[in-house]
């Protein structure tokens, strides 16, 4: 293991430790369900619009 590898490993460990504390204190939320519904609605509406125009 050279110096760069060791520096990267140390930095990774430091970051994982910080992130573990951050996560315990305030968990990073999953993607909001309401936003997912809105995005799926955009896709579905676009597909329906495309079908209508395509058929017409």
């Amino acid at each position: 293991m050279d110096d760069t590898d060791r520096a990267v490993r140390d930095e990774l460990e430091r970051r994982l430790a910080v992130l573990a504390v951050e996560e315990r204190e305030a968990p990073q939320p999953a993607f909001p369900r309401s936003d997912m519904v809105a995005l799926v609605a955009i896709v579905v509406l676009s597909i329906v619009l495309g079908l209508i125009v395509g058929i017409a």
């Binding site: 994982l16 597909i47 395509g54």
Partner: protein
């Protein structure tokens, strides 16, 4: 910090997760980042290529439909997981494809896609400068002539020089180019609508359509889907710096959907009314001798920064995916190696530039399949949970080692998704199946890739105990000595 140290640091430490202090982009910040990214010179090319198939009204609908679907699917496959875990996307993709699988994707699909875009931008630079010369010096340079090749090579050399200076130079140039392109786009909208009536625009015929109107519309939608997918290689790495899921998703959608369409509409309207899809051709007739030449010069300059930005992010991905082999290669040599194929393609200026539509369709076939696979993996199979530490483990110690570093199920899913695309619409022979006019090819490719990935994973990978699918870890596993030992 010297430029080479700056690059080296980003290449070495850039794949590590960011802490919350380092997440600097809120909703407004990330909106501007995406607007700047979206209003690029290729948006004019996209508008022009759409005008080949359809008129203004159908083209606008095709852009709205294609970009809406493509951008949403692309963002779900890139932004969401990178934002949650603060990890750039090629590292997070290890949970989908395995370490070797990511390298395979990066060194094939991503490399050739970005080389293609680089070639396009360098030729666009060459043609823009040639047009300036033709207008102001009275020369008559052919759009496929050797002079265009020479200018394209100059663009590549200049982009390489900018890259060698490091990311700070690119950021500095982008601060000039992004607002400049926004002003240019608004200026062209004003010029277009003062010189062309609404009825003229609506009545303008497409430039090179097929006989079947439904097929023309489907190809225009498919093309714009491909444009939406084409942002995938860069989005995850940007989104990791945002503060919340909403600050990542919606600004990206506003920028890549809203701002892109604005610039594309300008390109389409100009192409339809001036009967040429090439923005380097229609800018002078649109803007007049002085304004047109100035606009072309700015477009040429903007292409240099776009070129440098694309190659910078791609070379970083190559370096991270290439492991020890590429870590030792000096940054200027790596960037120089990337430019070899675009430089060769510069000798055939029309090869990709005049076949822009087909290029986007080809890349869209694979990117759509990748997006379908990634969405199925992250949302369906992992329920949005990834073992952060496992992303950095090596060998069989990582849950994402799969089979020898490759998740065969995910790679097969991408292959079958792309095959579905080609069966529905073959970009080489232009042969289409009946279903293409209603379903397009990208949407089925996304669905097939996703469904196949879920099936193969449930039936084979999970049963083999690979991939950490059963572990359902929390976002942050506790750090411990045994876990530390397996990292890197």
């Amino acid at each position: 910090m010297a430029a080479h140290e700056d690059v080296s640091r980003e290449a070495t430490f850039g794949s590590l997760p960011v802490t919350r202090d380092e997440r600097v982009w809120n909703f407004a910040d990330f909106t501007w980042v995406n607007v700047g990214l979206a209003i690029a010179t290729w948006a004019f090319l996209v508008g022009g290529a759409t005008a080949l198939m359809v008129g203004f009204a159908e083209g606008l609908l095709a852009m709205l439909i294609g970009n809406a679907i493509g951008v949403v699917i692309m963002l779900l496959a890139s932004v969401v997981s990178s934002q949650r875990y603060g990890v750039e996307q090629y590292t997070i993709l290890r949970s989908v494809f395995g370490f070797g699988g990511v390298a395979l994707i990066v060194f094939t699909i991503i490399l050739f896609t970005e080389m293609g875009w680089s070639s396009l931008l360098s030729v666009m630079f060459g043609r823009a400068v040639s047009q300036v010369s033709n207008e102001s010096l009275g020369t008559s340079i052919d759009p496929n002539g050797l002079a265009v090749t020479a200018f394209a090579l100059v663009a590549i050399a200049a982009a390489w020089f900018i890259l060698a200076k490091g990311p700070l130079t690119i950021r500095f140039l982008n601060r000039i180019v992004a607002p400049g392109l926004a002003v240019l786009t608004v200026g062209m909208i004003v010029l277009l609508f003062t010189e062309t009536s609404w009825s003229e625009l609506m009545d303008a015929a497409p430039l090179a359509p097929f006989e079947d109107d439904a097929l023309n519309f489907a190809i225009a939608v498919e093309f714009n889907l491909g444009v939406g997918f084409s942002w995938w290689p860069v989005m995850g790495s940007l989104a990791r710096l945002t503060t919340t899921p909403r600050a990542a998703m919606w600004p990206a959608f506003i920028g890549l959907f809203g701002a892109t369409i604005l610039a594309q509409v300008v390109g389409m309207a100009a192409a339809l009314t001036l009967t040429d899809s090439d923005p380097t051709v229609w800018m002078v007739p649109l803007g007049g001798a002085w304004l047109g030449v100035l606009a072309l010069l700015f477009v040429a300059f903007a292409n240099l920064t776009s070129l440098a930005s694309i190659v910078y992010s791609t070379c970083l991905a190559l370096r991270q995916a290439g492991g020890r082999f590429l870590t030792g290669v000096p940054w200027p040599w790596l960037c120089g190696g990337f430019f070899v194929l675009p430089a060769v393609l510069a000798f055939f200026p029309g090869l990709l530039y005049d076949q822009f539509l087909l290029f986007v369709l080809w890349t869209g076939a694979f990117l759509a399949a990748i997006c379908g696979t990634v969405i199925a993996d992250y949302f369906v199979l992992r329920n949005q949970r990834i073992d952060l530490r496992g992303l950095y483990g090596r060998g069989s110690a990582s849950p994402y080692h799969f089979t020898g570093g490759f998740n065969v199920a995910a790679l097969v899913s991408v292959g079958l998704g792309a095959l579905t695309f080609i069966l529905l619409y073959n970009p080489i022979t232009l042969e289409t199946r009946g279903a293409f006019t209603l379903l397009t090819a990208s949407v089925p490719a996304v669905v097939v890739a996703g469904v196949v990935h879920v099936l193969l994973t449930v039936l084979l990978v999970r049963r083999a105990g690979q991939g950490g699918y059963d572990a359902a870890p929390g976002a942050q596993p506790a750090a411990g000595t045994a876990q530390q030992d397996r990292v890197l």
